[in-house]
Symmetry: C2
Subunit: 342 residues, 2 copies
Amino acid sequence: MVHMRTIDWNDESKNITLVDQTYLPKELKIIECDNLASICEAIRSLRVRGAPALAAAGGFGMALAVTLSSATSMETLLKDLKVAADTLKATRPTAVNLAWAVNRVLKATEDAYDLDSIQDIVISEAIRIADEDVKVNKSIGKHGHKLLEDGDRVMTHCNAGRMACVDWGTALGVIRSAVEKGKEIEVIACETRPLNQGGRITTWELMQDNIPVTLITDSMSGHVMKNGMVDKVIVGADRVTQDVVFNKIGTYTHSVLAREHEIPFFVAAPVSTFDPNGWEETVKIEERDGDELRYMAGEQIAPANVRVYNPAFDTTPMENITAIVTEKGIFQPPFLLDEVIM
Amino acid sequence: MVHMRTIDWNDESKNITLVDQTYLPKELKIIECDNLASICEAIRSLRVRGAPALAAAGGFGMALAVTLSSATSMETLLKDLKVAADTLKATRPTAVNLAWAVNRVLKATEDAYDLDSIQDIVISEAIRIADEDVKVNKSIGKHGHKLLEDGDRVMTHCNAGRMACVDWGTALGVIRSAVEKGKEIEVIACETRPLNQGGRITTWELMQDNIPVTLITDSMSGHVMKNGMVDKVIVGADRVTQDVVFNKIGTYTHSVLAREHEIPFFVAAPVSTFDPNGWEETVKIEERDGDELRYMAGEQIAPANVRVYNPAFDTTPMENITAIVTEKGIFQPPFLLDEVIM
């Protein structure tokens, strides 16, 4: 298997390096973000995306903020960090991991005793979040591979792989762990309109690891299931509330089809994705720019002024989910979120 | 409402003019086909597509063949026509209307008494097929508009509109007829990957007629249904057998979601689409080039060598269909195809 960090902190140059995923699969382009505006732009433009990777981006964004602040007192520095935290969290409001990481860094500063210690605390906490993510993903894989059998053909949506995390991946991490255990797994990747994270990134990642993958359009999921081409479905999650799983738009559609065809439907996500106080109706789903459907790779593919509805996520009710895999184990219905988090 | 013929025969220049739909919505480009190879290329490349339009293309293709043949005896001319018929039918094997029209023209030549009469018969039969298509679509609309109520929000997939026919349309024809009766109808158009006939053509057609339309990705259909944004679904058909409806890939997925959300699911198609001797398992589904998913508007959007599965159609079982509308009326389950055709 290939190993690489999708996003990382350079302690020498005090900046963030990350894979600009908008160039995949044509180019593996690494960019540097050395101020808050550039990491916010990278998050908003989905140069870095995927719930766990956004946690790392949030943490490292705070590291940038503490490095660049000109504050000369603890009080003003903490105020600067609070402003940076709000700016970072506003870039992608639905994904819970971003806010989780930013808040975790903020909370760590409560232990600070002087100006310099704040900088140390913020940077080490951010690095810790990224390091933990790799470990957490490996644990998700360690538990989750038991859900997959030798010979399984597994459908996935969007990209819940290395590129959605710091390394390894959640849904693709489970597949990688199964392959590492010697199981033969074939993957069906849904292209995941409108931004084609499945077609561009999941396929590319799996081909790098020599895991067989077939690309289909999102609309084909019913057809491939009906024709017995899918044994299991596994996806990631952007937020897990008491009643639903928020994930990339299209996930709900696949979950209904999986139930119709009696195909197990798994969600793989770190505990940091869980929002035990949240409910479907309390979370606002991010609506993205309609141009994502009007243009593709710079080319116009729909009338320039057509009305577009472009929600980034949908919600899958718990009754459509067979199991949720976290770093703490495999959870089956009823999903008692408090037990998972404990 | 706009009126225009998507495809037509020029009796003076003895050629076919058609809208090259691959340029939509950026450009309304009309091209001329003056030999069999060019009309076959236009069919294969989906410059002309949609079941009823393919019937007209097949008929006019035969008109081209009879015009260009250098045969000097009835026997060799009929042989030439037979070869042309096979060539035309092989371009899109799943769509039944193409073969239906070509066979109808061939059958008409049985009445020929000399060489010249064959040419007259072929050309007038081809023109008759195109003229009838407009009448048939208007009849489908006349019956079908009763299925739609004032204020309905109607989802559709692919393009079963004017551009899929000679004029008016089947599924969009029903919507047009309802609007003509004074009903306010809003349309949700699924973009219809991989060739985006919904995003490119359905939206463009409806905007030309000032019928409100919102574009979504195919994967959003579950989400919009779950959120109460869809009152009815209506699609066209490429072939109706005793047990299933063959239509654009993705239709089956929408049908399962519609049933899950108790939303009526209608199919609008001329009787020429019916294949009463056919069954799901006897019809081979056309598989198209994987590059349709690897490239979009000339740009690479997936790894160049990724494996792709790209069936053009899927099959929706009759139990997922609320009603089928033809020029003969509205048919509800059980769908006795022999009764529809009689």
